[in-house]
């Protein structure tokens, strides 16, 4: 899918807003923003956003495609839904942020080593493999995502917590060798594959004005 980005650039040459509207989950809401900034002010991780949501919306309208899609900002969303609850125009901002992140990922534009993107991918991989999430494997994976040495360091630091979790029966070392999973994992995988195919078709088939 690496040339999907190029394809989209060509297709929506004049308007990133149209591209977002067509391809980003809930993207058609972006035009409804009236720049009040309540979302930006409401975000718990607000200070860590280089471009807060309302500014991202403005950048989308201003055709600042690269800056938006390569941004680290929407990866700061904790899914707290404060912005949605307060937005006077009813924009599903949380979902739009998720959608932008998803879209950036599909176009391969996510900044390298974006921790939430990496973590999220591990999470997804885990659940799509087993139908359920293996907390331990993700945890360990997270420790080692930046290499073995860093991983050992992280693991040492988190050891105390790990022990506590084990002790309170809230983590099980055996999880690493199997653990919680659905019975019909193959069915789930088939289902997800089909769903993904359907979604891919949407991007390449429709120009966004449809549906």
């Amino acid at each position: 899918m690496s040339n999907l980005n190029q394809a989209m650039i060509e297709k929506y040459r004049s308007s990133f807003l149209n591209e977002v509207e067509a391809n980003v989950e809930e993207g058609h809401w972006v035009k409804m923003c009236m720049q009040c900034g309540v979302c930006s002010g409401s975000c718990p991780l607000g200070p860590h956003w280089e471009h807060p949501p309302q500014e991202l919306f403005m950048m989308i309208r201003a055709n600042e495609r690269e800056a938006v899609l390569k941004s680290d900002s929407m990866w700061m969303c904790t899914s707290c839904y404060n912005c949605i609850a307060r937005c006077p125009r009813g924009l599903p901002i949380t979902h739009i942020m998720h959608g932008l992140a998803t879209y950036a990922k599909r176009l391969n534009l996510v900044p390298k080593k974006q921790p939430t993107a990496e973590f999220g991918q591990m999470f997804w991989d885990s659940l799509s493999k087993n139908g359920r999430v293996n907390e331990l494997k993700i945890g360990v994976g997270l420790y080692f995502k930046d290499g073995f040495a860093q991983g050992v360091k992280n693991a040492m630091a988190g050891r105390e917590l790990g022990m506590a979790m084990m002790k309170t029966q809230r983590m099980n070392a055996m999880e690493y060798f199997g653990g919680h999973k659905c019975k019909d994992t193959s069915g789930i995988q088939k289902m997800l594959k089909k769903a993904q195919e359907f979604e891919d078709q949407q991007i390449t088939r429709f120009d966004g004005k449809e549906g």
Partner: protein, 751 residues
């Protein structure tokens, strides 16, 4: 007149009986006030009390009634007697409620009451029941000037109410600016987006209505008369003239387009592809739903930038310093045209102004359609090649450039009013004075730029309706939007203030309401707002008149003309009964039946002035009946203490205060005189527009009089007060008291 019979009725209720010696008041009414009948009643406003008075009117021939009880503002339902002159001595709010209930205060409180009874008796003695002047005529016929949306609305709404209308339109067709629009902003349900204009149906309805006569290619060559009896000369382009008689006039002359060439930094006049909103409408109309083609080369427009507030809300020379109110929704509408034809549209705005329910919904509709909105300040439009709009993006805080096939500048509305009538008068005056050459040059230059007259009024005070600001016609624009300064002539639509189509329709309907009301009032000889229903009107004693023209100049409403000999010619139906003419008259020949130099002069003269050694000063307070007097009433309700030396007389307007009252008061030994009127100036609150200002002007010259009398100038003070000055007004009076007692001492003019 022997038939005059005065009845004075003194109330004992609400504590008056306990606080005052009412039997003494009866004696005073009879002895000093010369009342033929004087009675006390324990509860005068009760059914029995009122009946007692009514019986005297019916059976004893009482035709002048003095009610000595509460304020004239209270119990008006009870004390309403037909066909008698009435005066009210305010003993409750004006006396016992502003004085302490103590033994020491008893004597001076009684003196106040005594005086107010004397004053009321004196006043009523000089009052006459207003009678018809014989000028009235009923003419249910309006002239509407201007055939745009406002004028058409006015015509049809008047016709629907059963009135006849002459609709005068300068151009060859009806519809005005709205007629040139491709589509309209809806008047309701803004979410539906733009709608078909209603103007076509409206024109049809006007054409089809038998009550409406349409005059195209026609202007008003002359207008004379007054509400109920206006005469207008209509002149057609071809040179023929006709004359119509109408009861009232609605001026709905709309607006002119701001000259886009003045905005050359925004590309105005430099590229045919930079247009104003009306220009864009013309293109949209030509495209009729298809893609708009740009003027320069006919290319289909796919990207349009709308620049809001172009040459507006700005103090730069040549710009309009106001907001035209409609341009945000208009640009949204036009951006929708572009979106619907498949193009991109960006609106560069500072504050997006789409107020109300319909407005905000329309904004959302524009967003739904994908119109891009950017808070940005356009710095320039580059017309050298493809259009480039340079702007500061205020949200992203960066300089940005947008390419565009076309740029639409949201320029403002310039009111299509007539010339400011006072310019010519000012010029005439300046020419007659020495050393005003500079002013003459300036005024002449201004006049040269002035538009043609619209109404060509034959009024003494000029040809057109006065302006308030920026060429918009004058109105008391918060509570009473339709009070222009020319009674019976109502302006509506953007000539009055900038507005959109929806508001123009409401405005024109409202103005029409006032116009038909003016016809009805004129038929009855009744005053228009704010002294609605007043039947009194000014007249003058010709033999005393010196033709000084003060009255004709000072009338805030241009109601008084001059005859060929220079005598004032009153036009009762134009008059608002403020009495400014009466106040202006140096020889005191102007009066109303129930309000005159005498009715007030006799009141102040009938106050008992103790001699100098009693150390009981007297302070005359002349208080505007609309603001100062109600404030004093409310001071009473709050039991604010007021100096027992004050004697308060309500006046219709401070403009009606004749300096003779001041001189008389000082001559008869008053120690101080206070005038209380409303705020003047740009944000005037005077309901007679100029009354308070005129009073201040006259009083600025009173110092000479004081000097000749050898009196301190502090003894006469003029104040701007408001109805909310419930504590301040008593304090002003008490301060005057203190100043007299502590500083300047008693007047030497006591006998």
């Amino acid at each position: 007149m022997s038939e005059n019979k005065t009845g004075a009725y003194i109330c004992q209720g609400c504590g008056l009986g306990e606080r005052l010696d009412t039997s003494q008041l009866v004696t005073i009414a009879t002895r000093d006030g010369k009342a033929n009948v004087a009675k006390e009643h324990e509860f005068l406003c009760s059914a029995e009390g009122v009946k007692m008075i009514q019986d005297d009117i019916d059976n004893e021939g009482v035709n002048k009634v003095v009610i000595a009880a509460c304020s004239r503002r209270a119990k008006t339902d009870a004390f309403r007697f037909d066909d008698v002159a009435m005066s009210r001595a305010n003993l409750r709010e004006g006396v016992i409620w502003v004085r302490p209930d103590t033994d020491e205060a008893r004597e001076t409180t009684q003196e106040m009451a005594d005086d107010y009874v004397r004053m009321a008796c004196a006043e009523v003695k000089h009052m006459k029941l207003p009678e018809s002047s014989g000028e009235q005529s009923l003419n249910r016929h309006l002239m509407v000037v201007g055939g745009g949306i406002s004028g058409l609305t006015s015509a049809i709404e008047a016709a629907k109410a059963g009135y006849k209308v002459d609709l005068v339109e300068k151009s060859g067709e009806l519809g005005g600016q709205v007629g040139k629009l491709y589509k309209s902003v809806p008047r309701k349900n803004g979410l539906q987006g733009y709608v078909d204009s209603e103007i076509g149906e409206l024109i049809e309805a006007v054409n089809a209505n038998d009550n409406i006569t349409i005059h195209l290619n026609t202007t008003v060559a002359g207008t004379e008369g007054a509400p109920g009896r206006f005469k207008a000369e209509l002149a057609t382009e071809s040179g023929s003239t006709s004359s119509i008689e109408i009861g009232a006039i609605v001026q709905a002359t709309g607006f002119r387009r701001y000259d886009i060439n003045q905005l050359d930094n925004l590309g105005g006049g430099k590229s045919p592809d930079v247009v104003d909103q009306m220009g864009f409408e013309e293109l949209a109309k030509a495209a009729n739903g298809g893609t708009i083609k740009r003027p320069s080369d006919g290319k289909e427009v796919s990207n349009v930038v709308f620049v809001q507030c172009a040459g507006q809300r700005s103090n730069e020379p040549g710009h309009l310093n106001y907001c035209s109110g409609h341009c945000c929704t208009t640009s949204i509408k036009q951006a929708m045209y572009v979106r619907d034809a498949g193009g991109d549209a960006t609106v560069l705005f500072d504050d997006l102004r789409t107020p109300g329910a319909t407005g905000e919904d329309f904004y959302r509709a524009g967003q739904e359609k994908g119109v891009a909105f950017s808070k940005g300040k356009c710095t320039s439009v580059d017309t050298s090649g493809d259009l480039k709009v340079n702007f500061k993006d205020l949200i992203l805080d960066e300089d940005a450039t947008a390419n565009a096939d076309m740029v639409v500048l949201a320029t403002g509305m310039v009111p299509a009013s007539g010339p400011n009538p006072y310019l010519q008068l000012e010029l005439d005056e300046a020419k007659n004075q020495e050393g005003q050459e500079e002013k003459v040059v300036k005024l002449e230059a201004e006049l040269a730029k002035a538009p043609d007259s619209i109404l060509n009024l034959s009024y003494r005070q000029g040809t057109d309706v006065p302006h308030l600001k920026n060429g918009f016609t004058d109105s008391h624009f918060i509570c009473f939007p339709y009070e222009t300064r020319r009674t019976g002539i109502y302006t509506a639509g953007p000539v009055r203030r900038p507005m959109d189509t929806s508001q123009a329709i409401e405005d024109a309907t409202g103005a029409t309401m006032k116009a038909i009301q003016a016809c009805e009032n004129a038929a009855q000889g009744r005053a228009a707002h704010p002294r609605s229903g007043d039947l009194s009107f000014p007249s003058f004693r010709k033999e005393g008149c010196t033709q000084c023209k003060r009255c004709t100049v000072e009338c805030p409403f241009g109601a008084i003309d001059e005859d060929e000999k220079g005598y004032p010619q009153y036009n009762e139906a134009r008059c608002r009964r403020c009495g400014t003419c009466m106040g202006a008259c140096p020889v005191r020949v102007i009066s109303f039946e129930n309000y005159s130099v005498e009715t007030v002069g006799q009141q102040l003269k009938n106050v008992d002035i103790p001699d100098e050694f009693d150390e009981k000063p007297r302070i005359l307070v002349l208080a505007c009946e609309n603001d100062a007097y109600p404030a004093l009433d409310m001071a009473g309700m709050n039991r604010e203490e007021i100096s027992p030396w004050a004697r308060i007389i309500p006046v219709r307007c401070l403009g009606s205060v004749n300096t003779i009252w001041i001189t008389d008061a000082l001559n008869s030994g008053y120690d101080g005189v206070m005038l209380m009127g409303c705020q003047k100036g740009d944000n005037y609150q005077c309901h007679f527009v100029k009354g308070s200002e005129m009073a201040h002007y006259r009083m600025s010259k009173i110092d000479d009089t004081l000097k000749t009398l050898n009196l301190e100038k502090e003894r006469v003070q003029t104040y701007e007060v408001s109805i909310a000055d419930i504590q301040r007004i008593p304090k002003l009076i008490n301060d005057m008291d203190k100043m007299i007692v502590d500083e300047i001492g008693m007047s030497p003019f006591k006998f």
